[in-house]
Symmetry: C2
């Protein structure tokens, strides 16, 4: 049966999960920024870096240094003479630019546009994003080659991003687009959450100790005070281990002191 | 009437719109990264930078240089001897860290946690995020001072972000958290979208010209071919100006050529 071909199965499973995005830097000036862009790409699982007319000779040791270990990106970078050459094999290209252009063009925020681009890639389209150099950003001719302009909502008085930061922003949105990690969780340590029974047991012991110590000297206020104290500890999502620590604290505090 | 007190009104309007976030860098090493972090902060409208035991002497010209104009952040940065001192006036502090810690702590992604933090700030709480130095990140003692750990889902094989990039990621999420810009729009130029009447007028003119030129030589295919052509132009969301350009193109192409 064709469906049981193992190599086929593996390919079917891997292809939609690892769509790729090319990052194209047009006339980048500083090797440090190329290196930082490489690091940002690999942080987000991307490796296809393309450079159009980099100012300095390539390979550039400053780029390798700033990449902090993202060698697979820097060493694999390809250099092109024109933007058109660099994107010739791509079907969907977005242009990242801070400045509004006097062109009729669809503009998307990275938050909206990058997941869009990822869906294109998952559907099998070869996708890329072009970024302009440090001095002047993208030429209008480069922007005209793109399908969509990506423009992040930022402080209108200070909008220009560092090149590496711009690459990070786009790659970050790319990685988050299908990330299914929960937004919030409690670090797992080798202990479990305390049960409600253990909690109540602790509350009752604590309240007993407070009774003995005269803490609840206005008796009619005891119920509300006890409730407030329970809420303090309730809110902490205590683990069984932490609850034992708290029991230890109570034990220590009620011990007769050597005066 | 109290409600018409102008100064009061202005304050009421401005306070919830510009909640602030302190960025605390603990033992930052490279001036360049402090400068890049400053630039990222101002890109996102933030200015409250605090440094705990920076490695190099402060003020640091490398930081000012890398800030690329974010002088208001760099020049206003305050230096502290301990993390506890640096966050003493804050009520809600998150710690940005790449590494999981052996602590029982609420962990949030920046996408989930930063909007959370912004809501705290909008409710009047003084908020901040602490970041560790380039070499080893935050000490566990610093993490223990924080309410929540911020940890971005990133390439598990290459998770460590550049310090400036980590600051950008958090500040970017901060700015996006209440940004109400539409995710997608068409650049506004001084022209309007073509009306459907203008479009159909163009389609009919083009199809007439194609009839004359013998383009539709298989007559039974004319309806589907015409429909396909209409779809091409329909998809482009043409403006009235662009439609006039297209009319000009048709006019030029049907002109008798000088052979």
């Amino acid at each position: 049966m064709a469906g049981t071909d193992k190599s086929q199965l593996e390919e079917d499973e891997s292809t939609p999960e690892t769509p790729s995005l090319a990052v194209i830097l047009v006339e980048p000036q500083m090797g440090e920024n190329i290196g930082m862009a490489s690091r940002a790409m690999l942080n987000c699982g991307l490796t296809d870096l393309r450079l159009v007319r980099p100012r300095d000779v390539w390979p550039n040791p400053k780029a390798s240094n700033a990449a902090s270990g993202a060698d697979v990106v820097v060493d694999g970078a390809r250099v092109f003479e024109t933007t058109a050459d660099a994107i010739a094999d791509l079907s969907v290209v977005y242009a990242a630019t801070a400045r509004p252009r006097d062109m009729i063009k669809t503009v998307m925020t990275p938050r909206h546009g990058v997941p869009n681009l990822r869906r294109e890639a998952e559907a099998g389209q070869a996708c890329g994003v072009i970024f302009g150099g440090e001095r002047a950003g993208l030429h209008n001719d480069d922007v005209a080659l793109a399908d969509v302009v990506l423009q992040a909502p930022l402080n209108p008085g200070f909008r220009s991003l560092n090149l590496g930061h711009a690459v990070l922003m786009v790659c970050y949105e790319w990685y988050q687009a299908t990330n299914s990690a929960p937004g919030e969780f409690l670090t797992e340590v080798h202990t479990r959450q305390a049960t409600k029974g253990e909690l109540v047991n602790f509350f009752e012991r604590l309240e007993g100790a407070l009774d003995d110590s005269g803490f609840f000297h206005v008796l009619e206020k005891r119920p509300v005070m006890a409730r407030n104290i329970r809420n303090i500890f309730q809110r902490s999502q205590l683990t069984e281990q932490e609850l034992r620590t708290l029991h230890g604290i109570v034990s220590a505090l009620i011990m007769p002191r050597n005066v």
